[in-house]
Symmetry: C2
């Protein structure tokens, strides 16, 4: 199973390419006396996904499984695709990103802007994914999964090591879950030094339902956070780590996500995407109630969003 060593190695590997994202203590308001926000949305490409993308590609370079002139392939109409396109460009590789034809125009434009070749396929993510895998097999390009590859998860986990450096101890990390790559990486990186609370929208309970079923199962995907947390099924790596480390699962309503996102702007002038707001929504809604004195870090993991929708109440 993926472990601390993998995350430590990943951190060394990607250090020249990623930002150390800041922390903001908010001891004075509605967030709880010992709450700290990790402002990971200030990462390159506007989400934590850059960490995993760099680790995936750089590891392949080390192993010699990708050479100069070779390509990188991903399937994603969202944050993962943008991160892979960005990392590929900075490392000198071409990127081909398979997106469903329903992908938002703004995200497709961003992929073009990053120099990626964009391949629109089908109406659903699953079709784009299947095509991307076939294409990678045909061409020998490096396939970068959005969450369910060890190198990707180890890269996301570097966020945990950063927190251990930045803070003088903490008890719990609260993090949003889609495919679970970030939560799993953080859990491996913490390696028992703090607990993890995994927060999902009620409308996309991939981890919650997997824990109930005793293994990953498909869930229906809908709701305000589907653009960033819309995986149909928890990653197998994430599931295994969640069970082994007893990650706690919490669900939040879309209503609570929307209200919390607005509150983050009102109270801290932080503009994040709905998926990122799921994590603090667990505190705001009472879905997760810290013990007195429990030092909680809430990861705000992305901001690839139209900020106009915040003040409109969206």
């Amino acid at each position: 199973m993926l472990n601390l060593d993998d995350v430590v190695t990943a951190a060394r590997r990607i250090a020249p390419y990623v930002r150390t994202t800041p922390v903001l203590a908010v001891p004075d308001g509605r967030w709880g006396a010992d709450t700290v926000f990790k402002l990971e949305f200030t990462q390159h490409t506007g989400s934590f996904k850059a960490r995993g993308a760099f680790n995936r590609i750089l590891r392949a370079v080390e192993l010699g499984t990708i050479g100069p002139g070779a390509g990188v392939i991903a399937a994603s109409g969202g944050n993962a695709g943008i991160a892979v396109a960005y990392a590929a460009r900075r490392l000198g590789f071409t990127a081909e990103i398979f997106v469903p034809r329903t992908a938002p125009a703004a995200k497709v434009a961003k992929l073009h802007q990053l120099g990626a070749k964009v391949a629109p396929v089908g109406q659903e993510y699953a079709e784009a994914y299947a095509q991307a895998v076939v294409r990678a097999e045909q061409t020998g390009a490096l396939f970068c999964h959005a969450y369910d590859q060890e190198d990707v998860v180890a890269g996301q986990g570097t966020l945990a090591l950063e927190l251990l450096d930045q803070l003088d101890g903490f008890d719990t990390v609260v993090v949003s879950v889609g495919g679970g790559g970030l939560a799993a990486g953080i859990t491996a990186g913490l390696d028992g030094r703090a607990g993890v609370v995994a927060v999902e929208p009620e409308t996309i309970p991939t981890l919650h339902d997997a824990l109930a079923a005793g293994g990953p199962v498909d869930v229906a995907v809908s709701g305000v956070a589907a653009d960033s947390l819309g995986a149909r099924r928890i990653g197998s790596i994430a599931y295994e780590i969640a069970v082994a480390h007893r990650v706690r699962s919490v669900l939040v309503t879309d209503e609570s996500i929307v209200a919390t996102r607005a509150r983050l702007w009102q109270d801290c002038r932080l503009a994040v995407e709905h998926g990122a707001a799921a994590a603090p929504a667990a505190l705001e809604s009472g879905g997760y109630v810290p013990e007195p004195g429990e030092r909680v870090v809430v990861v705000l993991c992305g901001a690839n969003t139209d900020p106009a929708t915040i003040t409109a109440g969206g």
Copy 2:
């Protein structure tokens, strides 16, 4: 002249009430290899003004010039008024804020929300200011100036001490100037340990024109940043400190402010007000060109803005 001791005392005084705002190093992009952003817009009330407001009121409490049940008065349709209303409420005083009838409805609503009594007076700030001063004299309430009082300037300067704690040395702080309270406080707090670059819109050159004229003079006020940097004249405290410490003055165009504000969102997912974007616009436009290896801190001092105007190009 206001000095480091005043700022150190202010920092001790206001510590329980203000946030330590984060820093974000951006060594990899267009901002220069050794540039750090100070995310002061995450301060209470969305701007640095909370620091000065708390110091002004708390000092008056120490001196006994304001007692329980007494009031606090300010004239401002913007950040300073909101900060005074917030500080007054947290410290248990009533606040009366004089605003021009032209003040934005959203800011007036915010004042009401903070429990302040709002007094609309005249069409221009100068009228609201004159009435506020008269009212303070009549009632014995504590008048809080937006920038030209020593306690206010000392409070703003606590940001500099925070930077000295947070960073492993730096050479220059780049900061936006309206009435000059923040720039002056930072200059006093640094006390020669780093230089200060004061950035103003071409459309509101209060410090620039004062330095040219050999003393504070009235300037015309217009442009995109007038809502936060729209003082008609540099504060006398700020002018004196700027001359004594050889603060460098840089002007930027409105076009550059707008483009830089959009760039901060695109590149770092930071949504700030136009006045705050003036400081990084000095780098973006080449108005200030750091020496090779010069470690530059750029203060992003406020975000009381409608983020919808960022993606609209405004």
